[in-house]
Symmetry: C3
């Protein structure tokens, strides 16, 4: 589904997007969700995750900060979403940085069926079984295109590897998303927020590679717009939310501004 | 106590307001508290909640994100506050959305005596035993006036139901607060922050319906002022804190700007 | 190491700084870390803290919100950092406010060797065994200079006590940092963020008193720059991150603007 159509539906339907996410960037994730037109909810207690996700239209699992209890909640919510056909998105934050962060996405991927997986080049390389250089939760270099392609084939789902150019692959098609701005890498949480927008798009459009690429292009375009007039990373962040909300409110104006290239797979 | 008098005392006494609140909007809650002149503290460990609340002038319990351990801490802190005559405010975030979120406020209300309860129309309708449409932690429609009135009678305390117009009722009086701006509904946490301001007001003025209405009017007025010059929800949020701090610093200028109507109860 | 040299190395080496910090101000802490050129990571699970800290160049332990499980993670991470010679910084948030917050830094100080300890006058007075007035996590008055001096002698490490003027002492030298602006005290988390900057400086320069004083002067200078044009605490915070990033990106321009005085110890 193209981005304009997705945004029209988000504004009209206002679907609930359930996030199991980290406490570092959770506020930005929630506000980015709201800016697209969707409604965020962050319930993480085992007492309620299954019941809450059953009322949602998408589930986003973000590993930014996690411990044993969180992983249990993720598994419970993910399985319930699968039972109900609700799309589940994974952001494997820091995969490759520690054993716990490498094993957890493996477990999640074995127990839950994901509609899309979104991470930086290092994280997606880790999931693809490629060598990766990860420092904490930051990717240091890495070939995003190759990572997305290999991980999509290995995992059998849509995979996005974000970076200067974002690559999205579903094993059959490969998209390059050229929208974006360097200031996005200078705030904490732009990766988490872009995955949140993917979750919102999935709530009405599913996890197909074109829909995921559209979500990343929208977010990147918001970054471009926000960078104009920003004096640094601090003032960039609120302007990013302004820009995202403005683009979401005017879907007709959008399509010419999104730069998504359809690439040959091999 | 009227809002100007409350703010003069907050600026002079700088009371401690103890929040047991969610990790999504906690930063805005803390900064909103500080902007009124009060001092926020967020301690939630069972090891210290009772000792901390004993040094505070108000306790705000916000259910935004909660699990079993948090509920225990809420009960411990609430009971200690009751023993010491410290006003306790409840924000039943998401009441009605899941069984856990419906049963938890019932338990809290049965074990703790609250000076005021503040939520959106859906949450307050749930507490009033009325039908409510809640999506995650958002209220979808609902009659705020009727919810506030019924809940106040049922719970025997001051109840505020927020929305386009906020209604505050203590079972004998009913106030309508007209201040506010639509941008407040486009950021995550404006409800939590308005309840935090109610907590600050309660720290010096108690939980009477006029004081609660004054707190909501102040917060709504800050929203109106912040909206001027905002380019969207992102830049609105920091401007909301600026406006709240500016209004709090100049209480003499305030009263003519707060639009609170005294309504007939029936 | 002087501040310009530290910043040049941070921009070139991009060291990982591991934070075990509170959920109230964590986003500001992470963004302040990133603004200096370092890379923040916030992993707190016992499953991974030791492995994560082993990949970091500094560890910052901030007690803002804590419970039993967090204290265990802090001890595990701190001991591993000590084994590897990675500098560890402590921010004893709220020390003196409750028994739990007074005993926890005592335990941490007995089990972990800290390169520097940074807190407000009340917290540092508590660690120094002096009388202190603490309200929640805020210091109400107190002699920062005397607190820093006494605590440095008692703890045998570098100690910073922040306030209108910050004092840094290592038992042999005493520095006064004059940079800063009153708006810094009107946002939640400026203390946490200043300790985070100390952690970044320690990642390349260690915890010597001159390096710590340089970090606090840089942060204070950013506050001065951010205050120009701010309309209140809300818009001040993003501008503070802008200013910090701008200063970090131009280390050559820095030194004349930092006001650090070398005082006699007695």
């Amino acid at each position: 589904m193209n981005a304009s159509e997705v945004l029209r539906r988000l504004g009209k339907e206002r679907p609930l997007v359930h996030h199991l996410t980290n406490y570092v960037t959770v506020n930005l994730v929630a506000n980015a969700t709201l800016a697209t037109g969707a409604l965020p909810v962050m319930a993480n207690a085992v007492e309620e995750v299954e019941e809450m996700v059953a009322t949602a239209s998408a589930l986003v699992i973000n590993m930014g900060t996690l411990d044993g209890a969180w992983v249990e909640a993720m598994v419970l919510a993910g399985k319930e979403a699968n039972r109900r056909g609700i799309p589940v998105i994974l952001d494997p934050v820091g995969a490759g940085a520690t054993r716990f962060r490498t094993e957890t996405p493996e477990r999640l991927l074995s127990e839950i069926s994901f509609a899309a997986v979104c991470g930086n080049a290092g994280e997606i390389s880790t999931l693809a079984g490629l060598a990766a250089e990860v420092r904490g939760v930051e990717s240091i270099g890495g070939d995003a295109r190759e990572a997305a392609r290999k991980a999509a084939l290995r995992l059998g789902t849509t995979v996005a590897a974000t970076g200067e150019v974002d690559y999205v692959c579903d094993g059959e098609r490969l998209f390059a998303v050229e929208n974006g701005h360097p200031l996005m890498g200078r705030i904490v949480g732009s990766g988490c927020a872009s995955t949140a927008v993917v979750g919102c798009f999935a709530a009405v459009g599913g996890g197909g590679s074109e829909t995921v690429a559209g979500a990343l292009a929208l977010f990147g375009r918001a970054g471009e717009a926000a960078a104009e007039g920003s004096e640094g990373p601090g003032t960039f962040e609120p302007r990013l939310l302004d820009a995202l909300a403005a683009l979401a409110a005017d879907p007709d104006e959008l399509d010419g501004r999104l730069v998504v290239e359809d690439l040959p797979l091999a």
